[in-house]
């Protein structure tokens, strides 16, 4: 192919179809290519065009990524699966966190992630005491940003959340300090913290027996969501800490949503039967989903509409164990023999992989977004004229 006279607008077109890994390599081609690949408009174009879905799995304390689109398919007849379904086995690829060297001795834990439609950056918490350090991480291009230290690190109880709001094209990391009734917000675009007064419309309590991850919010659209206990009225004081509820207090659960654009809380309406024995809040089919102790899945079909809570049936049997989900039409099931299954609701396909302890499973759509917003702009202004369409 004689490509010396390749028009530059066609180069932009071609390059916008490439996987992120190729593009990270091609940053080294020339200055104008570096400028193109890091240009915010190109980042958006690329994201709109490629839509490659990758799974991030923490198995046995290591992190792996799985690209189900390109993974080798393999028949796996040993699992007793419904005969109508097809299934395949994939090999997860080890994924080394670039900031792990800083925390070599430490365990890490992914605390939150943005949903498919919200530009796949993760918020990672390094748990090792005495510091609790938060990193914003894009696993597609391995870029990360450490959230600057703020004095509230050890304060408890605190709700944490991380999410993307398209209308302001910004990612925000949020800490809700319940004792002090304030919210601390870190904007990636502004690269700075700010503190506002918390406008909880009621008295939030944190359950004494905490299930894992209760304090990490679920991002969807432009809000971050938590399930919290609220005290409706308190007839008498208890000697317990004011911020934990007492078994005899009259309480109920609420979903609270923090709007990242308006920086305000609101509550979402719920049906009583949905909220019995809530195990976790998650996102399924791009909607809020509640999983209860009986592994029933309820989704809120129309955001904010109480009557739209609908129970959906998940093909659970013959599998046992936990369900979790983090994708529009896919979810994970833990099955016996330390096997995990990825189940696709659309085509009834099952994908099996091995792992003794699979703590977290996340999905993201790969993109070129840098958590370091401000440096992007500086790089991109140089040499971009070579690619006239941007």
């Amino acid at each position: 192919m004689s490509s010396s006279n390749f028009p530059s607008d066609l180069i932009v077109d071609v390059v916008s179809y490439l996987p992120v890994k190729s593009l990270c390599r091609f940053k080294c081609v020339s200055k104008s290519w570096l400028a193109l690949i890091t240009h915010p408009q190109f980042v958006k174009l690329h994201h709109a065009r490629t839509q490659r879905q990758i799974f991030l799995l923490a198995i046995d304390a290591s992190l792996y990524h799985v690209d189900f689109q390109t993974s080798l398919l393999q028949q796996e007849p040993s699992l007793s699966l419904p005969s109508s379904s097809s299934y395949r086995k994939v090999v997860p690829i080890k994924h080394d966190l670039p900031f792990k060297e800083e925390h070599d001795r430490r365990n890490f834990r992914l605390c939150s992630w943005v949903s498919e439609s919200s530009n796949g950056l993760f918020c990672t918490l390094m748990l090792d005491p005495p510091d609790r350090e938060f990193f914003i991480y894009n696993p597609s291009n391995r870029e990360y940003k450490k959230i600057p230290y703020i004095e509230s690190e050890k304060e408890f109880p605190t709700l944490h959340g991380f999410g993307y709001a398209e209308s302001i094209d910004d990612y925000k990391f949020v800490k809700v300090l319940i004792k002090r009734n304030i919210i601390q917000i870190f904007s990636l675009r502004n690269n700075s913290w700010k503190t506002i007064k918390c406008d909880f419309p009621f008295n939030v309590k944190i359950p004494l027996a905490r299930s894992t991850g209760w304090e990490y919010g679920i991002p969807l659209d432009r809000s971050i969501h938590w399930v919290v206990d609220v005290v409706l009225n308190r007839p008498r004081r208890h000697r317990y800490d004011d911020y934990y509820y007492h078994p005899y207090q009259h309480r109920s659960k609420q979903i609270v949503a923090f709007d990242l654009v308006e920086e305000k809380f609101k509550t979402l309406p719920i049906l009583d039967q949905v909220f019995q024995n809530v195990k976790r809040l998650t996102v399924l089919e791009d909607r809020l989903c509640i999983i209860n102790n009986r592994d029933q899945f309820w989704i809120m079909k129309k955001y904010g509409a109480k009557k739209s809570w609908t129970r959906i049936l998940i093909p659970k049997k013959p599998y046992q164990g936990r369900c979790s989900s983090k994708d529009s039409r896919n979810f994970f099931l833990k099955v016996k023999d330390n096997r995990y299954l990825l189940v696709n609701l659309d085509d009834d396909k099952y994908t099996a992989f091995d792992g003794n302890k699979c703590y977290t499973k996340h999905v993201y759509v790969e993109n070129l977004v840098s958590p370091n917003f401000h440096t992007d702009v500086a790089v991109a202004s140089e040499g971009i004229n070579n690619f006239t369409r941007l």
Partner: protein, 172 residues
């Protein structure tokens, strides 16, 4: 890739076929094709000429050879509304563009890409650009410079730093 020309060649020289108008396209190397207006207007460029009444005589298609123009016309025929009964068949036909294995395929796709760009045919352009992307995604930076005829303007220090920053992308 098939190169069969399936142009609607009309020996009579009559420029109408029933109520369907025929357009005459002439390639860079002088080959003449007669094509139904309804299918040729998949090209935004040609549609503009038809709308402006500039398509009454032979339309010169500069920069596009007869061989490539024949392929473009085949694409048009396949994508004419109603020409292919089901979507699956069309996808299968399109899939021949997905793999670019030998050099002649590459030349074809490159020529088609340039033609699709010149004639402004969005569907063909998308198909060709993703085919080229598929072909280059595994290349090294040196191969990319050669492919697009680019000279690196980084000094050694800058390039080393960038490579180090993106080291993982150079590993398998």
């Amino acid at each position: 890739m098939s190169t069969a020309a399936t142009a609607d060649a009309s020996s009579s020289g009559d420029t109408t076929e029933g109520s369907v108008r025929l357009l005459t396209l002439q390639s860079e190397d002088g080959e003449v094709f007669e094509v139904k207006e309804t299918i040729a207007t998949q090209s935004v460029t040609i549609k503009g000429m038809v709308d402006d009444d500039c398509a009454t005589s032979t339309i010169p298609v500069c920069n596009v050879t007869g061989r490539t123009l024949a392929m473009v016309i085949e694409w048009w025929n396949k994508h004419e509304i109603g020409a292919v009964s089901n979507e699956k068949e069309l996808k299968e036909w399109e899939s021949q563009f997905d793999t670019i294995d030998d050099k002649s395929d590459r030349d074809d796709v490159y020529d088609l890409l340039m033609a699709a760009n010149y004639l402004n045919i969005p569907t063909l352009l998308d198909c060709c650009t993703s085919a080229v992307a598929e072909a280059i995604k595994g290349k090294s930076t040196d191969e990319m410079r050669e492919f697009f005829d680019i000279k690196s303007d980084f000094d050694e220090k800058e390039e080393d730093a960038l490579r180090k920053e993106n080291q993982w992308a150079f590993e398998n």
